[in-house]
Amino acid sequence: MNYAGIDIGSRTIEVVVVNSSGEIICSLASDTGFDPIAESLKMFYAIEEKGVKYESIMATGYGRTLFEIAYANLDPISNFNKLTLINNCSTVTEIKAHARGVAAFFPDAATILDIGGQDSKAIALNENGRVKKFEMNDRCAAGTGKFLEIMARTLGFTIDDFGKEALLAQNDLTINSMCTVFAESEVTSLIAKGSDRREIAKGLHISVMKRAASMISRVRNIESSIIRPDKITGQSVKADAKDDFIVFTGGVAKNECMVKLISEKLGCDVLVPDNPQTIGAFGAALIALEQQSKDRV
């Protein structure tokens, strides 16, 4: 039996299907566009065409409730491309989904940083991999992927090269504004002054890093976060601070400069799973699997 997770974010949608052992058997990604529901259904149709079946869907991300309602109201006969509907779609927050997805990759993880398109969050996990505490950015896009995307465009970089280029900067430049609108005008005036655009890029990365680091420090209590069960005896032991690491997920985790800056600032390793953008959908699929097996007991 398989289980699907879908993460409907502000910029991208990911669908992951896992089998009953929790292994990924199918993974798809797409841009959110202006009609996330239609886009999501298209992805499920693509999965169906591949011959992959699933027993339930767990939706997460900002579009989760919208999707749950739309899915429940789909007409089984006349819906988009006659998609086979599953009578089992529920939702989970992206915080729990990311925690679950990360725990599968890194069972010892105690702290997660997730920076997506419009949200950034820091999550602390307890020794069982459950959410202990979290912080999320407020209503504005400061310090999120959207901020970096707009700034990359202003500087004429592609989003994929933005981090690489920033790493080549000779000097650090200070950007004071965190507001996307104000930062853009600050960048424009720096360009006008003839500043090196790689240095401006580095400055922008530093400003996002500082915000992320302060969010992490609010959830991460070094002393309590590094108490984990000893692998052999099972007893709780205090791990060495060096063992503490941060798992970085979301689209911005693909940015090498951001990973390096955060690691330097916090003095610990920053681990990035393969395909960091799909962790939410993967976690949601795992939660769907676990819920199903719990219901059966």
């Binding site: 927050t93 459950r130 959410v131 505490k133 999320m136």
Partner: protein, 433 residues
């Protein structure tokens, strides 16, 4: 519902804007309150009160006015209702729970002023609050800096504003200041009403207000049951109507609900299933129709079991000592002075965040979380409300020190952050399960 158009017109309300407000309020009430399942029958009274909040209740107040009774409006729980009632006047809470006439408001207040203060101005400038327009005296009070300075501007908009000073420290000097201010207020009320407060009228007023608070205490006590017999939204509404309703009728209605809830508890019947995560709300007051956060919480499979708020336990905690004075009291002034002391003692215990230091509030929050068997606490700070947002950090530390999960939320009356807020609240509730 009767036609109150003429009454509203006579009060000088902007009818078009007021209709719009009532429309929004009516729809919100339907979607948030009437959509709830398993409500106590006694809530029917509060449904009626809300449907007539700008209608019948205003008519009652105007009828009282016609008979020479004065109406006093207030924005804060530090304004003692006992003194108002003893001078044969009526105290009402003034509207400050919704955004209104925002552009007009920003001619008087900076953008980064909290929603509650802006709302008070919005209701005045938009001419949509019949309570404010009915009031013979409006009492402002020096709580936070925002309110303190805002009253200077509000004074240019209303001609019957009275400003009460408040202490900021729980010292003997602070208490003396509060008592002095309550005496000054007593004089002002007596001058307004032409009624001299006597030991007897004050004692009776103390009993009336104590009865009202006792009814709310009884309701709060019943919410400690597992499963809790009433939703947090419904209990919040009772706490909100506390500020508007006729005191005796309110007391009777709340007690009637409590009788019903006792039966529910006996039958192990809850407003929600027993395993529903229980939340304590703590922080800024929620005035009608500010139901945003409780609505988000209670549509996320959790239930609110208590409010550490001025519209809630912080506002209603403690009674005034009723034992002073009696029918045979001879020395009126001495007796009144003792009662004024008792009133001051009671209000001085209110642990508003304007006080420094304010350890009592931290203790109360921890105590409430334990007594109400809360699984977690959500601290609600209105954006730009410096005192409560500042305190939210020590609150979080104190609670987490006791292993009580805490979520700090900062928001306003707008709905544009409802999605993000819902994600945050849901993730917090998932964390508690």
């Amino acid at each position: 519902m009767s036609d109150y158009t003429q009454m509203w017109k006579d009060l000088g309300l902007n009818l078009e804007a007021h209709d719009m407000l009532l429309n929004v309020l009516g729809n919100a009430y339907k979607d948030i309150y009437l959509a709830q399942k398993n409500r106590p029958e006694g809530m029917g009274y509060f449904d009626f009160v809300m449907s007539e909040v700008h209608g019948l209740r205003i008519k009652e107040l105007l009828d009282e006015k016609a008979q020479g009774r004065k109406i006093i409006g207030s924005y804060c729980v530090f304004v003692p209702e006992e003194i108002v009632l003893a001078a044969n006047a009526t105290l009402v809470g003034l509207c400050s729970g919704a955004d209104f006439a925002v552009e007009e408001v920003e001619k008087y207040l900076p953008r980064n002023t909290c929603a509650l203060i802006k709302s008070a101005f919005g209701f005045k400038l938009g001419k949509v609050c019949p309570y404010l327009e009915s009031a013979d005296m409006v009492v402002g009070e020096n709580t936070c800096d925002g309110k303190k300075k805002a009253y200077e501007s509000l004074g240019s908009l209303i001609d019957n504003l009275y400003v009460m000073d408040l202490p900021q420290m729980k010292s003997e000097q602070g208490k003396a200041l509060l008592k002095g201010e309550y005496y000054r207020f007593k004089q002002a009320v007596e001058k307004l009403t032409g009624v001299a407060i006597t030991a007897q009228s004050l004692k009776k007023a103390i009993q009336t207000v104590n009865a009202k608070r006792t009814a709310i205490h009884r309701l709060s006590e019943l919410r400690k049951a597992v499963p809790t017999p009433i939703s947090g939204l419904d209990a919040l509404l009772a706490n909100q109507v506390f500020f508007y309703d006729n005191p005796a009728r309110f007391t009777e209605s709340v007690n009637k609900i409590c009788d019903e809830l006792e039966k529910r508890i006996q039958d192990k019947q809850g407003a929600v299933p027993a395993k529903t995560p229980r939340i304590l709300l703590s922080g800024c007051p929620m005035a009608v129709p500010n139901w945003k956060l409780p609505w988000i919480v209670e549509t996320s499979e959790a239930v609110i079991v208590g409010e550490e708020s001025c519209v809630g336990e912080r506002g209603t905690r403690n009674l005034v000592d009723e034992s002073i004075g009696g029918v045979n009291a001879t020395d009126n002034d001495e007796m009144i002075d003792k009662m004024m002391d008792a009133i001051t003692d009671r209000y001085f215990k209110v642990d508003c965040a304007i006080f420094t230091p304010n350890q009592e509030r931290l203790n109360h929050i921890v105590e409430m979380a334990e007594n109400y068997k809360a699984d977690g606490v959500i601290h609600y700070g209105l954006q730009f409300c410096q005192p409560y947002i500042m305190e939210s950090i020590p609150v979080e530390k104190a609670l987490e020190g006791k292993n009580i999960p805490t979520l700090r939320v900062e928001t306003d009356y707008g709905m544009e952050d409802a999605g993000q807020l819902k994600t945050r609240v849901q993730a917090f509730i998932e964390q508690l399960r």
